[in-house]
Symmetry: C2
Subunit: 448 residues, 2 copies
């Protein structure tokens, strides 16, 4: 769910084997469930490249590590593709202090939102205006907002079974809130963390700004801190908030997509892409988001090798640069798959396709039902493979995982390796490997 | 999965409402997903009654706490039902030390198996015989076994998607291994923890003994310790193991089933039972096994109350005593439901019924598919409601949860409250509440 631009992708082309497809699917799951390989790779990635935000030395180390992993795999080629990435630095630990004559002072747990400007080293103090929505803020208008810190406090709606629905219903405050507040004259924005948890971790994430407008410091406050502040405002509406944030933007930096290829023999000109971003927010190990998706993508290749499924064509690369480059090279992209919803038990695939393509992919469901995967639904794929859609009339899919825990740790310091379960990681790998294997053996994906 | 005899059950009878059943199911899930109530109750249960093994003061405190919770709920009656429970005490922390002239000494992480006898305060030292199965041990025979510590080292087979299958395939070593080793003259038994994890926690559990046979100390070793010992035996087959365990058996103790009732109006003589055991292994907080199942059973009542679903008949009680007593009182038991597979996202129900009853219950699946529940399969229900089957021709079911993580913490010190996710807990409650609601509104469960 992170929208920075460095990622890992794999492209695969498989030739036809002669044995039962369900037997191959079962062998893939069995191999994955017994393996420690990806789990150990993810442990190393999380603990040695913690905070690997795009442009950081840790991100460069993650590029090097994943490249090394692939170089050890006897692929046809492994190479790096240059990408320019934003280069935002957090600076010193952020501070937020509620200042009230009635209630005394109280520290709140906060984090700068990605791409936020700083407050200056002295910080800023201002009264607080709490709102529940962008619409409420717009209605209050400039007179009410000017000079204030706008506090967006609408919590994630927990009604929905799928937490992505709750997340989508609240994330506008983080993405558009600071921008809207800045237009109306606010001095800063504080956004309730977009999370299903009620803990004291703040959750970061990208916020947008007008390219030519006034930028203001934009921070997220932990859900516990948000509750405390909201309660305090009821008692003392005249309280002030002190905020200090020294994050700042540097010129775009060079990073790399890591690309691994295995050339197919039967249809070497048709490419299947698999992968996900390897960068992570600088406040976390990025275990679920998205180190897990990367090692899963790589571990698929190990499984194909070990099961002697021949003739894969594989690449690892990513995002806009990858799509632009693929188009320039006149590659034929057939299908793309992304894992970026956390390392939890797989439940199915979200399929971004129409008509016959959608039907053909949904028809693969019976192979997966014994593995608890029943959700083969039309929906979005993943933000890092979507650019390929600009150039190709291709089907895409995203691995759907059990969503209950994801937004407890998404973009927060709680996203650590210890939250990863080996079996859940490997089931995701197996699901992706089996899906790619089966798609490769369809006669055609049909027309949209 | 714990087989001690103190538990919590709830019995429910609901009358007919006039509105759409899917709307009621949806309202139940929505209510549950927003609630903090059960999560906070479980926090208190786990942190104030840690180690609540049957017969312990902590178990008595857990009885009192759950009784108080129900007394605050405006039920028709809340009472205790006396149960005699085994009263086994662990004693001092167990010790295991590998002693090798070649490799030096090394401590192993061990725990006494439930009902194990002690080694005496001085401990014991003996050579080690590693086996992979009961069959291998039997074939080796008394000459090879006599005077040895038998080390059962077959790991859980991780191939299976459902971890209960892997568990079932390995647990014979723990349940029957020490007994078999004792018959062949072993001085002690050490069993590889029956777990999907590879950590250094040992996992306890019940072991069986001949009532009139020779008992030997029986301990479980952590998976990490088992790997270490097995590797050491390859290098130095003549190594010895020092074991010390001071657990011992006291006379059976008095405990109580906690019973809550709401009398139905339409069919007050027909009873639906819901619940699970509240005791836990003394080495853990018993969060997943099975504090979660207990607070879920209680929280169902809160949901029925808040949604104004009237006329429930509810009881809380348990196990063999409960079944015997129910039979003596000529109660009519209609259906029983248990939650004892950990607090994870619900996947369906395991239904212990035949013929029309099975079909009627499986036909409820469409109500649950939007909540990711697709497994409505014939299978076992739960060990604590099964005794009712001795007296009643009744259908039973167990809540099926995502099994990937359960045996990482089952019967181990890692089974703590912090491993509980609020949404997964509440989804389980909602699934149980909705299932009971729907069963209550079937005209008949039909014939077996």
């Amino acid at each position: 769910m992170q929208r920075l631009y460095f990622l890992t992708l794999i492209l695969i082309w498989l030739a036809k084997p002669a044995f039962s497809q369900q037997a191959v699917v079962d062998a893939i799951f069995s191999n994955a469930l017994k393996s420690d390989v990806a789990y150990e790779q993810l442990r190393i990635l999380c603990t040695t490249t913690e905070g690997r935000i795009a442009g950081s030395p840790q991100a460069a180390a993650a590029v090097e590590y994943t490249k090394q992993l692939m170089e050890q795999m006897d692929l046809d080629s492994v190479y790096l593709q240059k990408v320019m990435v934003p280069n935002w630095k957090r600076g010193e630990p952020e501070q937020a202090r509620l200042i009230s004559r009635v209630l005394g002072n109280q520290e709140l747990s906060v984090t700068a939102l990605g791409l936020s400007v700083g407050t200056g080293p002295q910080g800023l103090i201002a009264p607080v205006l709490e709102v529940q929505s962008l619409e409420e803020l717009e209605q209050l208008g400039e007179a009410a907002v000017k000079g204030k810190i706008v506090f967006f406090n609408r919590a994630v709606n927990q009604d929905h079974y799928n937490t992505f629905q709750g997340y989508s219903g609240a994330v506008d405050q983080r993405v558009m809130g600071p921008l809207t507040a800045a237009r109306l004259g606010a001095v800063a924005a504080l956004v309730r963390s977009v999370t299903t948890a009620s803990h004291d971790y703040p959750h970061t994430g990208v916020t947008r700004f007008d390219a030519d407008g006034r930028n203001i410091p934009a921070l997220a406050v932990s859900p516990k801190g948000a509750d405390l502040l909201s309660q305090a405002l009821k008692t003392d509406p005249d309280l002030s908030l002190y905020l200090r944030n020294t994050s700042h933007q540097l010129p775009d930096a060079v990073s790399y997509n890591v690309i691994g290829e295995i050339r197919g023999t039967d249809f070497p000109d048709q490419i299947i892409t698999v992968g996900g971003h390897i960068d992570a927010w600088d406040n976390s190990q990025g275990a679920h988001d998205n180190g897990g998706g990367c090692v899963q993508s790589i571990d698929m290749l190990r499984i194909f090798r070990e099961l002697n499924i021949q003739d894969e064509e594989i690449r690892q690369t990513g995002g806009n640069t990858y799509a632009d480059s693929a188009n320039a090279a006149s590659e034929k992209h057939y299908f793309a798959l992304e894992s970026d919803r956390g390392v939890f038990t797989p439940r199915g695939f979200s399929i971004d396709a129409e008509g016959e393509q959608l039907e053909a992919l949904q028809a693969l469901k019976p192979y997966f039902e014994a593995y608890g995967m029943h959700e083969f639904v039309k929906g979005g794929s993943g933000v890092d493979i979507r650019p390929l859609k600009n150039y190709y009339n291709m089907a895409q899919a995203g691995l759907v995982t059990d969503s209950q825990r994801y937004f407890d740790l998404h973009h927060a310091a709680s996203d650590t390796f210890e939250k990863i379960n080996r079996r859940e990681l490997n089931l995701g790998t197996a699901a992706m490997a089996a899906f790619i294997y089966l798609i490769d053996h369809l006669d055609t994906l049909g027309e949209e």
